[in-house]
Point group: C2
Chain length 396, copies 2
Amino acid sequence: MPAATVSRAPRVGIVGAGQLARMTVQAAIPLAVQVRLLAASANDSAAQVCRHVAVAPPTDFPSLAAFAAGCDVLTFDHELVDARQLRDLERAGHVLRPTAETMAIAQNKARQLALWRRHALPHPEKQSVSSAEEIVAFGDERGWPVIVKAAQGGYDGRGVWVVPDARAAAELWLQALDRGLTLLVEHRMPIEREIAVVLARRPGGEIAVYPVVETVQRDGICHELRVPAPLDPALVAEAERIARAVAEAVKVVGILAVEMFVSEGRVLINEIATRPHNSGHFSLGGALTSQFENHLRAVLDWPLGRTDLLAPAVVTRNVLASSAETDLHTGIAAALAVPGVMVHLYGKQPRPGRKIGHVTALGDDLADARERATRAVEALGGIVWERTAEREGAHP
Amino acid sequence: MPAATVSRAPRVGIVGAGQLARMTVQAAIPLAVQVRLLAASANDSAAQVCRHVAVAPPTDFPSLAAFAAGCDVLTFDHELVDARQLRDLERAGHVLRPTAETMAIAQNKARQLALWRRHALPHPEKQSVSSAEEIVAFGDERGWPVIVKAAQGGYDGRGVWVVPDARAAAELWLQALDRGLTLLVEHRMPIEREIAVVLARRPGGEIAVYPVVETVQRDGICHELRVPAPLDPALVAEAERIARAVAEAVKVVGILAVEMFVSEGRVLINEIATRPHNSGHFSLGGALTSQFENHLRAVLDWPLGRTDLLAPAVVTRNVLASSAETDLHTGIAAALAVPGVMVHLYGKQPRPGRKIGHVTALGDDLADARERATRAVEALGGIVWERTAEREGAHP
């Protein structure tokens, strides 16, 4: 029976209990949706704030099946699941949103590449490779360095390598063989901006698109979101068109995030995620409906909420701990003293570089919102990438 | 040790687990504040969504003391506590915000009256009475009918009687004697508008005031909030002045709500609550910082958040169930289809007239926001007082 027709509180099961699940638990309270978590550990970020927590590895099939049996619909905090197990759950009659098929695509960059080609969706030149020689041939033809990516398992800069020459390609290939990785090689595009589009899609195809975001990345990790992205309107329209086409191509249900490059006047698909995503964090307090609420509404097949910004400009900055000694509970009072900044902590123990929260500021323009968000990150003891760049003599 | 100086997550204990505590649990998640509840029942509104719940009556002293021992600061969802027990907790070194003294005032309308007189704060003519004859003398002097109120224990229209004549006064007096009630008699003012001011106050006296709200009451129950109240600026300023003076007089820490009348061009104090209050529900999604977050910030002695509205007009309507058969989980999909309406359900079983949630709409003007909020209440099967008034031939 579809979840939306049950008359008791619908039960949404989330596989994984990181900060995305935590913020979804928060969004579920006003909707009287009962969120249940399958957590790897009872102390996971979301498990700390949820009443219904099962603890088991997400790939232990008996645990997963028992968890699914207690939920009306199953959704995901991460992609580190076994797509074959998800298919078995669907065959047993469980409702998965996104589906096992969508999750299999979200896990695999080689399958995504095949889809982008089939749907003529713009992406950097790339190909799957089955030998070191194919990497070298690609580099010799399109120019060095090349980008090599693991088809599965990479995130936040992991599983991505900049390969300068044939010798490095041969070394990387051996390492990848050892670790059982499948690789893709990609032309290194000149990147003018990195942007993202977050949207929610219901089972029947209804879509709600959030404003285009500029993302500021350093070493493959997102530090900052600027919304709306300061971008030519034609590029904004193109980014939205691409994101909608991706949503249809992967048949997502729930939130989809499409990370893109602007390169030589074109918008190109970089990565996707079929779940709430860091690129959409501005929506929590910065838009009329957060991505977490819209994820729940989409997976329950309820009407989606409006995505309008609540101010002319919204800036979100991630809080990446600068040390293990970061004292958040002293820092938070200083951060809250910055006017009009919303602080979101994830309940995580600080470690150098670990993403432990984010802050969001509304403003009349991006400069004003950025200035206050940055002050709040500093107050919390987070890394401010501009300062690091200054110390290293680089140009931010 | 004050809560704000501990370096682990601060633990805020709430006595009571109704919808006010539920929305405070929600507000605590991004601040990484650990909320603990002392609930009368494990199925209470807030207990459904909180990880740390103790179940006991709020006036069972051993349970209350054990609960306090696990918290850095204690606060309240309601006034149905024993102020002497609270004083004993303070003597034992526990931090109560608001204090036992403030709670004792909040519980007792006779003590409040004494304070308003001492601080020359405007209020309807009223007095404590110790016999039926005193009610009759008051009515004969100021005119019938009079309003009689129980000094303690009343809310949502309970503990308030409109008394038309001497015979009714005598009957009420006998009933009150039976139930051990202390009474006040009050002149029935011509009421032009009912308004409220909600504010947050830190231990050191820092105050953040929310915009003045117009409240629409029927039979002593709040149905609707209109913000900002469509009111003469001089009356807005006077309402704020009074609310600030009340906050100082009762030495509140946390949220204070002051309900007031506008009568013959004057602003008069009606009721107060020293906790998050229905009059402040518009702030959840309608203002930059909700009253629930500011309550936590105040009781932890953290800087208060800005109270600016997120739109020119905000309307909140309560959802009072029209019958026990109200099917919320079908109704919610219809309510969410109304554009730009935020739905807040309390996880309560519908019963006729029971307050089971509220909806908030942002708009460019009050009429637009009201229209959408009303549609959402209808979709949820809630009572729309204008329709009831029409059916009964009354003028809304």
